[in-house]
Symmetry: C2
Subunit: 348 residues, 2 copies
DNA sequence: CTGAAAGCGCTAACAT
DNA sequence: ATGTTAGCGCTTTCAG
């Protein structure tokens, strides 16, 4: 019998999916459950959260009652009471140049947050008013000049970043892919393939990873007695700009090019094609950041899998640990990278 | 003088960004502001939200006091009180095959939510426990078989989708790109370029857009007395599978192929290249969904800009309107598409 | 093993 | 134009 209970929400589907309003239009509360189960609200709360002072009989009764009336806990009330939000903020860089990477990261974050029972709220750089209420923040790829970042760091909650934030002295906990080893592996591979003059087509120093790739490239050149040839552009620059950069490297006689972001690799393919340079045999190339479009390019481009999804998951684990009060023994979690050898290096 | 006020949070940066806990570790409350400004809490609330019953003098004083102690409203308390969350849920499909598209959509949603002062929470399909508390939901691209979708539709909040949800009789409000016109425009263009036998390489009927593209293709073939040649794969299928599909179409003598998702276009490029078929002159091709990698492919692939970012913004506007109680006069908002002609159709 | 009561921070109704 | 009061739904002492 359902008569006598105030709410039977779960079975009621609105006539149109858009015809409901307000906070779930008067949902069942813990009091409704308590009345239906004939116990107190405290008991309901304890039973539902499994705080073991409840007999299994009442626990079952409460759970039944809750299910009957489709009770869903009001998280706002819970948050207010326990002074935690159950929400992790995620800041994504607003550039499409590595979007598969960021998508993968996002799904990694989402997956792991779900398993820790956290929600994920996106943090916009251009939020005029108040920032969202979050227990902690994950910053995926802090672009220098992103005016939203300082505000995030002032949120006074723990922050985990996946790239060091440039121009900020205080460090956040860090989960970071191994760009250094990726760079060296690719350069070695290009050299193995017989390349004499290897150029670098990558992003300007607007992110930490770009700086690290460049530094590693220069060190490798020095260690191997090669002359460095570098063309850098913003990840926000146009395709044409990148193609020009690629042409510049070909002009100075590079017989191989290491690309940073995928956009650089595609630009190099365009430039090479325009000159009828056969990529692979005639022109070696590789790209630090892998992307699906590189796998299906012609020819497929050798790159490195930086494990974005795994990085996302690891960031959440690190952050959740911090939120639980565990002082991380190491606030830097490295994510190993895996070489993905394809035809463009002429060695596969 | 700051002495005498309980909180000066905004100036305090933790020694390490990860050394704070709990709900912003005792933030300033509305009461703190009230005491500092020498007014009541109601006055503070009204002043800060601009509910015009406050003299400009007190308003200024309150704002000053709030700024002094770094007051940030507690949204959980506010939500609890006003029975609204100020949060819109966003459901993204878990496939990388159109990730630029989804990224753009996401940023569109985020931008417009920010301007309406809503937060955006990602809704995971695999959330074990309770779904997040949201005022409304935007579903970007409902893949059939996504087990999270039914639960979302049961949330009893307004839903806006960007694709019709297959297998659900009740309709959500809908913002949708014009795939029909996109399909026809591209087919006409390929025919203009001299193509006689135009194949379709697209996604199986796991989304509404794929169905619509296919239907439109078949109608076009019928209207133009062409024999249809169709190869369909899941967007979750491997690159190799897609390449095989492309090869099949070439095997039956297609001299042009209309591709659905970008992954199909890349597969066709691979297949064409393996046979030394010059795309553009020898083999016409176009892709319904644009992506950066198509613009920088060799040759660049003609496609249609479906305005994902604009769609994202429009979804938010529609949803926010519904949340405000405005019954939408039309629950279907079409987003016009724009042809982007490139070399692959041999007509540019 | 369970209940009663207080209160998290905020806003809406009702005073003044 | 401003203050007082009650209470949103939940968890947490503290009492049984």
């Amino acid at each position: 019998m359902l008569a006598g209970c105030r709410f039977v929400m779960s079975r009621i589907v609105p006539a149109f999916l858009w015809q409901t309003r307000g906070m779930a239009a008067k949902r069942a509360t813990i009091l409704d459950v308590a009345e239906r189960a004939g116990v107190s609200t405290t008991t309901v709360s304890d039973a539902l959260r499994g705080r073991g002072r409840i007999s299994s009989a009442t626990k079952a009764a409460v759970e039944q009652a809750a299910a009957d009336i489709g009770y869903v806990p009001n998280r706002a009330a819970r948050s207010l009471r326990i002074a935690e939000f159950g929400v992790i903020g995620l800041h994504l860089p607003e550039t499409l140049s590595r979007s598969e990477f960021y998508m993968s990261t996002t799904f990694g974050v989402l997956e792991q947050c779900a398993s820790h029972d956290y929600d994920v709220t996106l943090i916009s750089s251009k939020r005029a008013a108040a920032p969202p209420d979050v227990d902690g923040v994950i910053v995926v790829d802090p672009l220098t000049g992103d005016l939203g970042l300082p505000r995030i760091l002032e949120l006074a909650v723990p922050v985990v970043t996946m790239e060091r934030i440039l121009g900020v002295e205080r460090e956040a906990a860090l989960v970071t892919a191994d760009y250094e080893s990726a760079t060296v592996q690719l350069l070695d591979l290009l050299a193995e393939g017989g390349a004499q003059r290897i150029g670098l087509l990558s992003a300007i120093a607007e992110t930490d990873w770009a700086q690290r790739v460049r530094r590693e490239y220069e060190q490798w050149c020095a260690a191997n007695n090669r002359e460095p040839h570098i063309a850098l552009h913003s990840v926000r620059a146009s395709d044409d700009t990148w193609v020009e950069g690629a042409e510049g490297l070909l002009d100075v006689g590079c017989d191989a090019v290491l690309c940073g972001p995928p956009v650089a690799a595609h630009a190099l393919l365009v430039a090479a094609n325009a000159r009828d340079l056969p990529v692979g045999p005639g022109l070696g190339m590789a790209c630090v950041v892998d992307a699906p479009s590189l796998a299906s390019a012609v020819p497929p481009v050798t790159s490195v899998d930086l494990k974005p999804r795994e990085s996302g998951r690891a960031s959440v684990d690190l952050l959740v640990g911090i939120l639980r009060g565990e002082q991380p023994k190491d606030a830097r979690v490295p994510i190993p990278a895996t070489l993905v050898e394809r035809a463009s290096t002429g060695t596969a």
